[in-house]
């Protein structure tokens, strides 16, 4: 073995990591998120082990709803990444298509990708674990709408990052959802979070969606205000996402990255 060759090959990867902020962030990100998420889950089960007693399937329902959010956002990102990977990006942006039409097309297509992945999982959960998300009743539709809008909004933020930073932002695309998981209070109530984080968490629609899901399944009541709040916050992020996307697009035009983004 020649050490200079090993060193040479290592250098190739060190240069790559050193030159890309998203790559460095990605390396730091995963262990930190795992610690946060599982730390809060552990704390919740330590102090409130009887919370989910006699309420079969709350955690699995939460997992399915979270996956719906995950799939919708990833579907959006994936479709955008496909254009970069296939080096079709320039063709797309010289076609007479408006940015609003691109956003609309991705938003509409993402729902198909999401449902293709989710429907079998939802149906499998019924015979395998006796858990049906349909137990949420009519509010399920509104919770899914809020989740979908928020998922698409995250997709818009990530695709804006892809426009701004290029393909090196791809790792963030995969990681974006996990970033919000600890604050989203998907598996535990908001009270588990420290007070300061609770304030931040309430600014996300996820807390309202998952608190309401638990409220329906555990208390058998429906808080319509909470559902409306979750949709309103999601819409707010959606419009913010559109603004950020436009800013990223015009920024990319200034930097000239639309013509060589796949390189």
């Amino acid at each position: 073995m020649r050490w200079h060759k090993i060193y040479g090959l290592s250098l190739r990867h060190i240069y790559l990591i050193r030159s890309s902020f998203p790559r460095i962030l990605d390396l730091i990100y995963w262990p930190s998120i795992q610690v946060f998420l599982w730390g809060f889950i552990s704390e919740f089960f330590t102090v409130s082990s009887s919370y989910y007693n006699n309420t079969v399937g709350v955690i699995l329902t939460a997992a399915i709803l979270y996956d719906f959010l995950f799939r919708s956002s990833i579907s959006y990102n994936m479709m955008f990444l496909e254009e970069i990977w296939s080096r079709n990006f320039t063709n797309l942006f010289i076609a007479p298509i408006k940015i609003s039409e691109i956003i609309a097309a991705l938003t509409m297509t993402a729902i198909f990708r999401t449902l293709i992945g989710l429907v079998p999982a939802v149906l499998l959960a019924i015979p395998l674990f006796g858990v049906s998300i349909f137990k949420l009743g009519i509010p399920l539709i509104f919770l899914l709408i809020a989740l979908y809008i928020f998922g698409i909004s995250l997709g818009l933020f990530v695709t804006s990052g892809l426009l701004r930073f290029g393909p090196s932002f791809e790792n963030i695309a995969w990681a974006s959802l996990f970033f919000l998981a600890p604050l989203g209070c998907i598996y535990y109530p908001i009270e588990i979070l420290p007070n300061t984080l609770q304030i931040i968490a309430k600014a996300l629609p996820l807390v309202h969606i998952f608190e309401e899901m638990r409220n329906i399944l555990i208390n058998k009541t429906i808080n319509q205000i909470e559902i409306l709040v979750s949709i309103a916050i999601s819409l707010l992020y959606f419009f913010l996402g559109i603004v950020v996307f436009y800013i990223a697009y015009y920024g990319a035009k200034k930097r000239g990255t639309l013509i060589n983004i796949g390189e």
Binding site: T90, N91, F93, I94, A95, P96, I97, K253, G256, I259
Partner: protein
């Protein structure tokens, strides 16, 4: 459609890539954009296509600025082919042509796909995935995509790069024939001097972001006292800056 480029410049950070270029490409003419690698050709084409915002100056296509609200309307009458950009590899040739036909709002798309497939000999691999094609086949598909909307203005960036002489000649012949049958304005960026001599009415020579010379092929050759365009190109590329 004609193209007017007025005082066009582009700076990336502190690097001036295109420096105050001016030219007019008349309707139904073919202009060759020549210059060594990194001279600003691709950036200039990017600005003409509305993909890059100029630092200063403007591009007028049919007297409309390409970088504002007319963009969609103008782009529907333009197109671009380059071996450096590709079509989705997992879609078949036919699916790709259908997608782009719809994006460009092509009427009677089925017939247009049949017509262009026939013209460019795509029929044998129309239902094959684009990623499985040879580079010569991909090149013809890319050309088909660029002509799907019967553009009034066509931008070609090295259309025969990496093609064998036979397919390269087929593409050049096709462009010549297409131009004689259709009203079309073409801007061609190429490093193939024979191709430029054959296809272009006028030539612009760029170097380090400037236009350093312009004229017909014959004018340029005689002005620089050379025997052919290749030698003329080499003389200009290796000389110190000469402003036109």
């Amino acid at each position: 459609m004609d193209i007017k480029v007025k005082n066009l410049s582009k700076k990336f950070n502190d690097l001036l890539v295109v420096d105050n270029i001016n030219f007019t490409l008349e309707k139904n003419k073919t202009l060759g954009l020549l210059g060594p690698n990194g001279c600003g050709k691709t950036t200039s084409i990017g600005m003409m296509l509305g993909l890059i915002t100029p630092t200063s100056g403007e591009v007028l296509i049919d007297n409309k600025n390409v970088d504002n609200s007319n963009r969609s309307d103008l782009l529907s009458r333009m197109n671009f082919a380059s071996p450096y950009i590709e079509l989705p590899k997992k879609l078949t040739v036919k699916q790709n042509l259908e997608v782009y036909g719809r994006l460009y709002g092509v009427k009677d798309l089925k017939n247009r796909i049949s017509e262009i497939s026939e013209d460019l000999n795509l029929n044998n691999f129309l239902n094959k995935k684009t990623g499985e094609l040879s580079s010569g086949q991909k090149n013809r598909v890319s050309l088909a995509k660029s002509l799907i909307n019967k553009p009034d203005v066509l931008f070609l960036d090295e259309p025969t790069a990496s093609l064998d002489p036979d397919i390269g000649d087929f593409v050049r012949q096709y462009i010549e024939a297409y131009k004689s049958k259709n009203q079309i304005t073409i801007l061609l960026a190429s490093h193939n001097m024979k191709e430029v001599e054959r296809l272009c009415d006028t030539i612009i020579m760029m170097k380090e972001g400037h236009i350093v010379d312009r004229g017909t092929c014959k004018d340029l050759i005689s002005r620089h006292g050379r025997d052919n365009l290749e030698d003329t190109f080499l003389k200009i590329a290796r000389s110190k800056n000469e402003m036109a």
